[in-house]
Symmetry: C2
Subunit: 70 residues, 2 copies
């Protein structure tokens, strides 16, 4: 985790054998910026998704919930 | 939400004024595939991030938690 003074905090999450990774910037105003890096060693994200606090909650729910009832 | 028979469920989340969007496929084995579309109307994702159930939980925690104590 990296402090971004005056902005918020940045979390770098390394996932995936293919070298894909995510960074999330949590801003002091509650918005989250999600940076998706498609390839190992990419300096520039392939996609940047700006999420409101509410949208971040929806995404978190989809990621964490168990949806199967059988 | 869309059923993917034998695979799992797919959630399409539209976010961002720039037309960025995310799709999450929740597989029956617990893994999640996160598809990040960089531009409105893109058919192909700019990045695909495969998450284990544990990684999905970590990402969900970063997205949903409040990290500021001041």
């Amino acid at each position: 985790m990296q402090e971004l003074p005056g902005v918020g905090k940045r979390y770098d999450l390394a996932f995936g054998q293919g070298g894909q990774r995510l960074s999330v910037v949590v801003r002091r105003d509650g918005t989250r910026d999600l940076y998706a890096f498609a390839e190992r060693g990419d300096d520039e994200p392939a996609a940047v998704i700006e999420l409101t606090e509410e949208q971040a909650r929806i995404l978190a729910a989809v990621l964490s919930a168990t949806f199967f009832d059988d």
